[in-house]
Subunit: 190 residues, 2 copies
């Protein structure tokens, strides 16, 4: 059985700062709930489309999550730390159609307050989202998600995210530099 969190470590986070989790392009997990069963998929092709926050995500009929998202119009986008890299890759290489990924990978989740979709406790952060644009049946297969409530897990020791290079290689975050003083044109965004 998947583990539902009874003593959640998730804490609310300012919604208008959640875009900072995504703009760097890390690997993300998209959690959904359908007929009482939680599922998660891995995604690397996404982009920040606005500070609301808005997130564009490429996922198509070849993903089990595709029809679920079209039906439920709700999901949770979670940010795995580098300690979850192998699990996140494995989640992306099996299908929720034939297995219970939460049980298989031993992940704990808390149902989203707004969405009922699974917020993964082991991740750094989770954004509850509604789907505001579904793709046409013929593609291009871009969903637009709007964040409606943001959560983070301040207890995670591993703060680094990781990025898919697209060829089976993955890049872990290295040094982070503060260049706020140079962002003269974009003061509203920092």
């Amino acid at each position: 059985m998947p583990k539902v969190s009874h003593a959640s470590s998730l804490r609310e986070f300012p919604l208008n700062r959640a875009f900072t989790w995504f703009e760097s392009g890390p690997v993300l997990l998209i959690g959904t709930s359908w007929k009482g069963k939680p599922n998660a998929m891995t995604i690397s092709c996404h982009m920040s489309m606005g500070f609301t926050p808005l997130l564009g995500c490429m996922l198509g009929p070849w993903n089990h999550t595709y029809e679920i998202l079209r039906n439920t119009r709700k999901c949770v986008v979670s940010v795995p730390g580098a300690d979850l890299m192998e699990i996140a890759v494995d989640i992306g290489n099996c299908s929720g159609e034939s297995m219970d990924k939460f049980a298989h990978f031993g992940l704990t989740y808390r149902p989203g307050e707004e969405t009922g979709a699974p917020m993964i406790e082991e991740c750094l952060a989770s954004l509850e989202c509604k789907v505001i644009k579904i793709p046409p049946r013929g593609g291009p297969y871009m969903f637009i998600l709007e964040g409606i409530r943001a959560w983070h897990n301040p207890d995670r020791r591993e703060k680094r995210t990781f990025h898919a290079r697209g060829d089976g290689f993955f890049i872990i975050d290295g040094e982070t530099l503060n260049l706020r003083d140079r962002m003269t044109k974009w003061q509203d965004c920092i």
Copy 2:
């Protein structure tokens, strides 16, 4: 005067592997040419939309490049290494409307063979693109670019890219791990 490259270090690169430059979400430069003047802008909100390669990019009327892209339908997407981080941030905090960025920042370029748009010699790679979808005037302001010819500069010592976190902080690539053996479902993509 901007420096046009006479002894270019750029070498051709397989077009169908160029998606590997973008999927990790690094900061990119978009080079355009309009009325004989080269320009570049910095972008962090983009995503890989296909292996052609296809790239979705958020840029709107507040960017000088917006009207140029609508008019010329051509550009070059260049990948700066971490050694160009400060210049790339500064390029994103001034406008080509009022200055010659190539001259100001001392960048060298080679006009694209297919596009005439500037391929920045100091970058790791440059992808010549045609614009295959321009956004509606009211937004959302997403252009879709299709790569038509790919170039890289194998002479650059600094191979790491960098990523915008969206709050004035920038993350340099750290350790890269090979997880190809786990990519059982996506063998076509590696």
